[in-house]
């Protein structure tokens, strides 16, 4: 039986179509996925992301532990509350998962990892932690709601007491704070402004209902996928996995090779790959004509062949977009094989839309 989040009954009451996603019964849409997508781009939408895994690390050993565990450098986090996106690599440089880590206090960090990778992530993290390592505590007592869109913060602030609303609205991008019983982060997975809000599971349904009354549209995982794809955000398991490194997944920007003495897991493998030459790259594809890109379609370019890793219809652009892993020497044009036919696509950056606007 798939698991349910504390908001399951609320989803059913809102007429959600439920699917099994990584072992969780989650809403894929509440009617029209495209309307939900536009709600986030133009106004405010909210997502139940309680299926994601929250892990707290505590103790003086937390910082040195994360310094070795993550490919990005938590040393970049100067002020408590700051967040960092990182990959967690295996020794071969393959991506075990991507995550967000929050610096809460010198002896307290919080990580949010994917739902489908929960078991292997926790096993890996515990395996790497020595006996004198940090305390590792999964927070399955928390629910998480993401409110996203140009009006999301203002609308969500309206359901908070005034002093909490002021504190939440003062958060800078990629920052978080504990505010009352809420943990609010100005982060997201849509390319729009907004918050990701963690709160006690028992309080989630009531809070969700108040956000809905404040005019924030419930949105399902379907819209979440088209929004993240337009924003050029990788999806773990599609666009990268344990057999691909960040360097061939358009995630080089998340790997901190400086300072040189920081010896994180996977570093040696990535340095070797860099020295040998990275022969594949992850790119964005824009389909020229009609049709829809999907994951695992064959891509042909002058430099060789590759494969799409994600694909869908972009409601903002009105055309199909995707991501593909192609030979590094691939130029700006390719062809994608869709049901036996080859359709032209242009090759570019993975991000197509940011803050409601098409990226040139």
């Amino acid at each position: 039986m798939p698991k349910q989040t504390p908001l399951y009954d609320a989803h059913i009451a809102l007429g959600a179509r439920i699917v099994d996603f990584g072992g969780w019964n989650m809403p894929v849409n509440y009617g029209s996925q495209i309307e939900e997508h536009h709600a986030v781009r133009n106004d405010a939408g909210m997502f139940d992301v309680s299926h994601m895994t929250v892990v707290d690390l505590q103790g003086a050993a937390a910082r040195p532990f994360l310094c070795g565990l993550l490919a990005n450098d938590i040393g970049k986090l100067r002020e408590p509350g700051k967040a960092l996106y990182s990959c967690m690599l295996n020794h071969a440089g393959g991506v075990i998962d991507d995550l967000i880590v929050y610096y809460l206090a010198e002896d307290r960090f919080r990580m949010v990892v994917n739902a489908a990778t929960r078991d292997k992530d926790l096993a890996w993290i515990r395996q790497q932690a020595s006996a004198d390592g940090p305390t590792i505590n999964e927070r399955d007592d928390l629910a998480m709601i993401a409110v996203q869109g140009p009006n999301a913060r203002q609308k969500a602030a309206g359901v908070l007491p005034p002093e909490q609303a002021a504190a939440a609205l003062a958060l800078k991008p990629f920052s978080a704070a504990a505010i009352g019983e809420l943990f609010i982060a100005r982060t997201g997975y849509t390319g729009e402004d907004g918050w990701e809000i963690m709160l006690p599971a028992a309080a989630a349904a009531d809070f969700w209902g108040r956000l809905n009354q404040a005019g924030i549209h419930p949105c399902g995982l379907g819209a979440r996928d088209t929004l993240r794809l337009e924003a050029g955000m990788n999806l773990y398991g599609n666009d990268m996995d344990e057999n691909t490194t960040p360097l061939e997944s358009a995630l080089s920007w998340t790997v901190a090779f400086e300072p040189q003495e920081r010896d994180f897991i996977g570093r040696a493998a990535l340095e070797k790959q860099q020295a040998d030459g990275v022969d594949r790259k992850l790119v964005g594809l824009l389909l020229e004509g009609k049709g829809v890109l999907r994951a695992h379609q064959k891509v042909i370019c002058a430099a060789g062949e590759g494969e799409t890793t994600s694909g869908s219809f972009s409601p903002t652009l009105g055309r199909s977009i995707g991501m593909a892993r192609l030979p590094a020497a691939c130029g700006s044009e390719c062809e994608v094989e869709i049901r036996g036919r080859r359709l032209s696509a242009s090759v570019g950056k993975t991000s197509f839309v940011r803050n409601g606007k098409a990226v040139d």
Binding site: N29, S32, Q33, G222, G291, V292, R294, R339
Partner: protein, 129 residues
């Protein structure tokens, strides 16, 4: 609950068939099918004059989520396709039994139509699925 008009015939692949006075038959997908597929963004229709056997794929509908083959509920020749779907595939979502029709066919063997379900049988089929 999805809408199942009483005057149509239905296939187990969630297509509906309306037999016209001239013996031709209009084919579309049911309200249940459009709901399951989600927002349609692209319909790949066959050329008029193409001939398909019963159960053969005559086209593809793509939703935001996935591509699905459209299977012929009976054999015959394609007389016409709904060209409005080229620019407004969402008609299949908003009006699956009306403006969102897919193709018009000339059945090769009208006895094949007898194998389709009536509305009551299709409703029961949906309940059991």
């Amino acid at each position: 609950m999805s809408n199942v008009p009483a005057d149509l015939k239905y296939s187990s692949d969630h297509e509906w068939v309306r037999v016209e006075d001239d013996g031709s038959a209009v084919v579309g997908i049911t309200d249940h099918a459009q709901g399951a597929l989600g927002d349609l963004v692209f319909v790949e229709a066959p050329e008029p004059g193409s001939v398909f056997a019963s159960g053969e794929a005559f086209g593809v509908v793509e939703s935001v989520k996935a591509a699905s083959d459209m299977l012929c509920p009976f054999g015959g020749e394609v007389l016409g396709v709904n060209s409005a779907l080229d620019d407004t595939p969402e008609l299949v979502n908003t009006d699956p039994y009306g403006d969102g029709w897919l193709i018009r066919m000339q059945p090769a063997d009208t006895t094949e139509l007898d194998g389709l379900m009536d509305a009551a049988a299709y409703e029961q089929f949906l309940e059991e699925a």
